[in-house]
């Protein structure tokens, strides 16, 4: 048995009085106020905080900058909010090896600006980079348009240290790009929404910043034509970096394509693109087109629902047409930024009951092809709606993994799929 002083004293001793405070309104997680906000300064302190909470039977929600705190289901309980903002050091930029080791609380923007000094980048265009932290981007598996060429975070993270609820600090992977020693736990933790362990640091492989880049835009007056263009580009020998389609219930579909290459490479590819698209009108576009995904979030928080849709690229037209039909029969509006990988951000605007029916319709239509619709933001009236949908036949195994790493359910209980 451990003879413990009050949890508050215990936490204070770990992180110091200045880094423990009662919560304020801004600290609420899905409407729930935690008892304390703890801001550890080292990964050992993170582990110690978790261990204290775990043995005291208290629940912990980790937080980076808080930019995506509404993602996932509401936790069943939040006692301690563990903020990683003080763990914000860039530990090592081994630029000649194209790797970086960084603490979880560092913002994407800060990381990218340091990398840029050596002409490099983490090939991720995450949401709100000025605020979003490395740890938060990993926990939510956020990815944007660069994913088409460089993969998502699971493909970019090569090492990670996590703190487990029993106070273990565990590292896996390493500092080299190629490494198959042991299980790939960085992938397991990426997208786990803080339910398995708290990410304290990560190692990423990097890519050179592009020499030049150019964005083009083209439109199509039907979803079928747009899909045909998109698939033709994907089936071509173009070496494009990103390809996205923007469409909505009101406007015809527009696509953006990004090339990153030498000047000669850009000109050659522009010619080829025009040839592939034949009569379709192609115009030069500004790089701002790539803000489209983030711009979807600038809207009325309480009347819309935003989610991540994942389908096969060849189902784009089918689903867009379904959305069109449903938007008329169920009276709602929609807007989507669809990446050619099949991952899209979809915003639905309508009455709460309508949104419930539409999400149900979407999911029942997606399930047969293995697609999914994960709700990331919903109106307050729908706070009880399950964010995830059907996790498939792997749920029992997922629960066993959770049980293995967090047997007492200390970390973000209830936030993940199937009540995990």
């Amino acid at each position: 048995m451990l003879e413990t002083k009050s949890i508050q004293e215990e936490l204070r001793t770990i992180v110091g009085a200045g880094n423990l405070r009662p919560s304020t309104l801004d600290d609420a997680v899905c409407g729930m106020a935690p008892r304390f906000v703890v801001t550890p300064g080292t990964e050992q302190e993170v582990a110690a905080v978790l261990a204290s909470a775990n043995s005291a039977g208290l629940c912990v929600t980790p937080r980076g900058s808080g930019s995506k705190m509404g993602w996932g289901n509401a936790p069943r309980r939040v006692d301690i909010l563990l903020s990683t903002v003080r763990l914000n050091q860039l530990i090592e930029h081994a630029w000649a090896d194209l790797t970086v080791t960084v603490e979880a609380g560092c913002t994407l923007h800060e990381l990218q600006s340091v990398l840029a000094r050596q002409g490099q980048r983490l090939a991720l265009d995450g949401l709100w980079p000025e605020r979003a932290t490395v740890g938060g981007a990993l926990a939510t598996n956020d990815s944007g348009a660069l994913r088409m060429r460089f993969g998502s975070l699971r493909d970019l993270v090569i090492g990670m240290t996590i703190a487990l609820p029993d106070g273990t600090l565990a590292s896996s992977g390493g500092k080299v790009v190629k490494n198959v020693a042991g299980y790939d736990l960085p992938k397991l933790v990426t997208g786990a929404l803080g339910t398995l362990g708290t990410i304290t640091r990560a190692v990423f492989r990097l890519h050179p910043l592009p020499r030049n880049s150019r964005t083009f835009r083209f439109g199509a007056d039907s979803f079928e034509v747009m899909q045909r263009c998109m698939l033709a580009i994907q089936d071509s020998k173009l070496a494009h970096t990103s390809l996205q389609v923007r469409c909505s219930s009101e406007e015809i579909a527009q696509a953006d394509i990004l090339f990153e290459a030498t000047e000669a490479g850009l000109s050659a590819q522009e010619l080829q693109l025009r040839k592939i698209l034949d009569s379709t009108h192609v115009t030069k576009d500004s790089a701002e087109a790539w803000n489209a995904r983030q711009d979807l979030w600038d809207s009325d928080e309480n009347h819309d629902l935003i989610g991540k849709l994942s389908i096969l690229p060849s189902d784009f037209a089918k689903f867009s047409k379904l959305l069109m039909v449903w938007s008329e029969t169920h009276r709602f509006q929609w807007r989507m930024v669809f990446q050619a990988t099949g991952v899209a951000t979809l915003r639905l605007l309508g009455e709460a009951e309508t949104l419930v029916s539409v999400v149900r319709l979407l999911r029942s239509n997606l399930i047969q092809d293995g697609g999914s619709f994960v709700v990331l933001r919903k109106p307050k009236a729908l706070s009880g709606m399950d964010a995830w949908g059907d996790p498939g036949d792997g749920l029992a195994l997922m629960k066993a993994v959770k049980q293995g790493l967090d047997p007492k359910g200390t970390l973000n209980p209830g936030r993940f799929v199937g009540g995990i």
Partner: protein, 482 residues
């Protein structure tokens, strides 16, 4: 093994699907790492997923350990049978089930040969990117188990980058689907954990692969340097110039000689040979290849050749891909090692390998994926000479320690398997390994699936970690144990 169990197995797979005669079992007593051998009790060759499930259910009921095997080309003993266990060979499950090029997906059974995936989609100018040197014989199931790499993973990524979904028979015989044809299925990325788990988490029975469109143009440059140091410096400058070649391979003089003797690729006789492949749009590749050439010359390359035709390109690669087997031409025996270092540590590690090789009186040939720092030192020896085999083993482990000292890894693509499990505790701490094993216990609580591999000391599931660990509050002086 009891006769009734044999009978049950035979009823599942039929008389031709069960091998139990000692002479036939010999084929399965090792994989590509031949210095470890264990005779299995039986080898079963299931023809479909339900047969795999039925076999595994019996293993689970009877607590019989099992090892899945693809083509048996692995180099770390991953498919080495375990004592009193059976081997499940997936060789009969070798069908390509679905080709969906609109979405660049191909669905295969685990026994399909790596190169056959490319063969199937080649007419439409697609290819399956991971290309281990054994790709003409190794199976996709084995690639999934080992997270196989290859020369082109510098640009294209590893097996894990190209596997989107799996059907898996868990060690209790139940069936799960991890990942899928669509990306980001809700839930934990168990797919990411399974790929590269070396058969310790279950058996993949169906694999959804991503294939890639062939680039418009591929150019391969061969550059001869006085030594690997100059070649290494050229690699660093190519990377620093912001280029991401499809592959950068390096061979030292001994490796060149062996390749020349075996397949006559007509390599220049030099101290360090660099092979740089660029692919992409024609206009860009031409331009970048000029910079590569200039950087090679700047760093002392005295001969540079650009493979002009597909035939020349294939010959260049043939020499590289045959390099391991070619050692047989210059040495009776050899150990293939697989370590990784940060690329910048190359000169230091190379001179240290040379020193150790002198000290041990054994030759070491070096072949590596220079772009990502993956070294394949080949330690040459003669089993007939007393003590040489042991000395070669010691040297090869010492090289791995060098890799770890440089901040690298004990394996870049061959896996830990049986061979390197003792090195795992040098690379990872006890809590690191314990955390991995907690994940393993979630998949395989009775430790039946390839139970003796990867981990130096298998942790029994359900047991508490044996070692006393101070609670953090104890360390912080907040509490004490009594």
């Amino acid at each position: 093994m009891e006769t009734r169990i044999f009978q049950e197995f035979r009823a599942i797979v039929g008389p031709y699907g069960l091998i139990s005669s000692p002479e036939e079992l010999h084929t399965y007593e090792c994989d590509g790492l031949t210095n470890f051998r264990v005779m299995p009790q039986a080898v079963l060759l299931p023809a479909n997923t339900s047969q795999v499930q039925a076999i595994v259910r019996i293993c689970h009921r009877e607590r019989i350990p099992f090892v899945a095997r693809g083509s048996g080309t692995g180099l770390s003993g991953g498919a080495l049978p375990v004592e009193n266990g059976i081997v499940l060979s997936l060789a009969r499950m070798n069908h390509i089930l679905e080709v969906d090029l609109a979405n660049a997906r191909v669905v295969v059974e685990p026994g399909v040969i790596n190169l056959d995936v490319t063969g199937r989609v080649q007419p439409q100018e697609y290819f399956y990117a991971p290309d281990p040197s054994s790709q003409s014989v190794c199976s996709i199931g084995g690639n999934v188990a080992e997270n196989s790499g290859g020369a082109h993973c510098l640009k294209y990524g590893f097996t894990t980058t190209h596997v989107l979904g799996l059907e898996v028979v868990l060690p209790d015989g139940s069936l799960v689907h991890l990942g899928g044809k669509c990306l980001d299925a809700p839930g934990y990325d168990l797919l990411g954990v399974f790929v590269g788990s070396e058969g310790t988490l279950g058996i993949a029975t169906k694999v959804i692969l991503r294939v890639v469109k062939r680039p418009e143009c591929v150019r391969t440059l061969l550059a001869a340097f006085p030594s690997t140091n100059e070649a290494g410096a050229a690699v660093s400058e190519i990377i620093a110039a912001g280029m991401l070649p499809a592959a950068i391979e390096m061979m030292d003089n001994l490796a060149i000689k062996a390749a020349e003797a075996a397949v006559h690729p007509n390599y220049p006789d030099c101290g360090g040979l660099l092979l740089v492949e660029l692919d992409g749009p024609l206009a860009e590749v031409g331009e970048l290849m000029q910079s590569v050439e200039a950087l090679c010359r700047k760093n002392g390359a005295w001969e540079i050749r650009l493979a002009q035709t597909d035939h020349e390109r294939l010959l260049v690669w043939k020499g590289r891909k045959a390099a391991f087997a070619a050692m047989g031409r210059i040495s009776p025996n050899y150990i293939v090692q697989d370590g990784v270092i940060p690329r910048t540590a190359l000169p230091r590690v190379m001179s240290e390998i040379a020193r150790l090789s002198d000290e041990a009186g054994l030759k070491v040939a070096n072949v590596f994926h220079a772009g990502d720092g993956n070294l394949h030192p080949l330690v040459l020896y003669d089993r007939q000479v007393a003590g040489q085999e042991k000395a070669a083993e010691t040297l090869s482990y010492r090289i791995l320690e060098l890799c770890l000292e440089a901040g690298g890894s004990i394996t870049g693509e061959h896996g830990v398997g049986e061979e390197k499990k003792s090195m795992m505790s040098q690379m990872y701490s006890e809590p690191d390994l314990d955390t991995m094993q907690r994940v393993r216990c979630a998949f395989d609580p009775f430790l039946l699936s390839n139970p003796t591999k990867i981990f130096p000391t298998p942790r029994l599931c359900g047991e508490k970690p044996g070692e006393y660990l101070a609670h953090p509050t104890e360390r912080a002086g907040l509490a004490e144990r009594f």
